[in-house]
């Protein structure tokens, strides 16, 4: 019942939003190439999927973000644990990492283009720089804020070395790491789209620019909707499910 009500509220809201949009388009305050009607955006969505350009864009972008994100996780874990395990690094590198995080990741693009040229590697570099820091900082936080009792209990029960890390330290810091992974994903996604807009690269970002080049506002909005939808699916479905599962395991208020 509650769920139904929620769905109803959402439906009403979006129906109203699209209604106002359609109405404004119908009033022709702005020309259609500046302010397209919902129907023409829908048509662009259909066309895009029909001529496979959207499918290709999604596939290319997803491939890039999966590779870049995976790289970030591996590097971030190594870096974060390294920083957390050494007091000197923590003081020096830890501070540097935090200040670097204030740099929008797209600022790495000029550097990436000079280093790697207009290549796949340049885009991957920007994606990795976008999410690496969040993940590193989260790993470091996780190691530092994890209650010490788990480490002691693990050692007490005979865990050491890699086993201690894998079976105790990693799961014990998971609540911290997960929030970092989520933030890292969001940054990676933003960085990827920005990076793809800069040069011909297939991908969703490039599709946006194609819309601009063709003066096709419907296409631009259609791709924007697509980007939002993918972000929403990953964040809402994957990360929220993981978080919920974690909360169920740890109890409603995590013991951290």
């Amino acid at each position: 019942m509650k769920r139904l009500k929620k769905i109803a509220r959402h439906t009403i809201f979006y129906a109203a939003l699209i209604g106002i949009w359609a109405l404004l388009a119908r009033l022709k305050i702005w020309p259609p190439y500046v302010f397209p009607a919902p129907s023409s955006v829908l048509q662009s969505l259909r066309d895009g999927f029909a001529d496979h350009s959207f499918w290709i864009g999604i596939a290319v972008s997803m491939k890039r973000i999966l590779i870049g994100y995976a790289l970030s996780i591996v590097l971030g874990m190594i870096l974060g644990l390294g920083v957390a395990s050494n007091k000197f690094l923590q003081e020096t590198m830890g501070g540097l990492l935090v200040s670097l995080q204030s740099l929008p990741s797209i600022c790495w693009l000029p550097l990436a283009v000079l280093w790697f040229g207009l290549t796949e590697k340049a885009i991957l570099f920007v994606v990795v720089m976008g999410s690496l820091l969040s993940i590193t900082i989260a790993m470091e936080d996780g190691r530092n804020q994890m209650p010490k009792i788990y480490k002691m209990a693990g050692r007490n029960l005979g865990a050491s070395g890699f086993k201690l890390f894998w079976y105790v330290l990693l799961p014990a810091s998971l609540p911290f790491i997960l929030s970092g992974l989520k933030q890292g994903w969001a940054f990676a996604w933003r960085s990827l789209i920005s990076g793809e807009m800069i040069f011909v690269s297939l991908g969703l970002g490039q599709l946006l620019m194609t819309g601009r080049d063709l003066n096709d506002m419907s296409l631009v909005i259609a791709v924007m909707i697509l980007i939002i939808a993918i972000g929403f699916i990953v964040d809402g479905l994957i990360f929220r499910t993981l978080e919920k599962r974690l909360q169920n395991k740890w109890g409603l208020t995590p013991a951290v």
Binding site: I149, M152, A153, N156, G158, Y167
Partner: protein, 306 residues
């Protein structure tokens, strides 16, 4: 400080325990006399602390002596309780025996082997338990065995066995946050026992429990002790609890922790917290303890005024 306590039931003479507990390694003739405990009387020691001292480095650079020349011997199958005011280093002492820290000087011997790291022959049950919230109850119990390469089939059997021992078979697939305090305590006990340690170290395990649950767990612990025959070193600030459970009670002084006195508890088992004999015995230890508690309060008071 003299060691001659005379009043029944705290006696100087260590007699054969009247319960059927322990693993039968008690030799009737080898009953130690507490006055001679410090010298090796030839009886086997399960745990032997030889002149343990521990110095902390405080954050302001000054050194704090936490434990000072502690010597204790624990017989196989013995139930030793350690009491003392808060801040006397009782918990630290257990951490040293568990091998989680190293003493500044002195040695910890278990079965005449020098302890220089953790080992599953000694399992510590922490005051805050340290159960893993990401694992189910059964997986928590299984953990120590898994770390030590016990085969999967045997792990399964032992998980079942030890969960049954603490009456938690039905909760194998629950997460620890779904259990009550007393149940969590029993999970910690099962997790420790599942590695089949010779020595069980318990750090104020029942301090946070309500009286009924605690009474129940006293009974269960005593039963498990007699069934497994393990040696138990049990730290508590509750003197009555120490007498309820222990074969012997060691009283530590306030900072630095020293062994102020040892008491043999010669009451027949099972005992109850409200037994008059337990209360009488407790009163004597409490008199000695009060002095130390006053010191700790004084130190806190001075600390607050700085």
């Amino acid at each position: 400080m003299t060691l001659n306590s005379s009043n029944f039931p705290v006696t100087e003479e260590r007699k054969l325990p009247t319960h059927v507990g322990g693993n039968g390694r008690w030799k009737s003739g080898a009953a130690p006399n507490i006055t001679t405990l410090r010298a090796n009387d030839g009886a086997p020691s399960k745990v032997w602390l030889k002149g343990i001292s521990l110095q902390y480095k405080a954050s302001n650079g000054s050194r704090l002596l936490a434990l000072d020349d502690i010597s204790l011997q624990v017989k196989p199958g013995e139930f030793l309780c350690i009491v003392g005011p808060s801040g006397c280093g009782k918990s630290t002492l257990l951490h040293l025996i568990a091998g989680l820290h190293q003493p500044t000087s002195g040695t910890v011997l278990v079965d005449d082997h020098l302890i220089d790291g953790p080992g599953t022959d000694r399992i510590l049950i922490f005051q805050e338990l340290g159960l893993f919230p990401w694992l189910k109850v059964g997986e928590n119990v299984e953990f120590g065995m898994k770390m030590n390469g016990v085969s999967k089939a045997e792990r399964k059997d032992r998980v079942q066995h030890y969960l049954r021992l603490v009456h938690l078979s039905k909760f194998k697939d629950s997460y620890t946050h779904q259990l009550s305090g007393g149940m969590r305590q029993r999970v910690a006990l099962a997790r420790a026992l599942a590695t089949e340690p010779d020595v069980l170290l318990m750090d104020e395990p029942f301090a946070a429990l309500d009286a009924q649950t605690r009474d129940l767990l006293h009974d269960e612990l005593e039963r498990i002790w007699s069934e497994t025959g393990c040696t138990i070193i049990f730290v508590t600030h509750n003197v009555r609890e120490a007498i309820r459970l222990g074969d012997r009670v060691a009283l530590l002084t306030f900072r630095p922790g020293r062994v102020k006195r040892e008491y043999a508890v010669d009451l027949p088992r099972p005992r109850h917290l409200e037994d008059p004999s337990v209360a009488t015995a407790a009163r004597e230890i409490l008199n000695d303890l009060r002095e130390e508690i006053n010191k700790s309060i004084e130190a806190e008071y001075q600390g607050a005024n700085v």
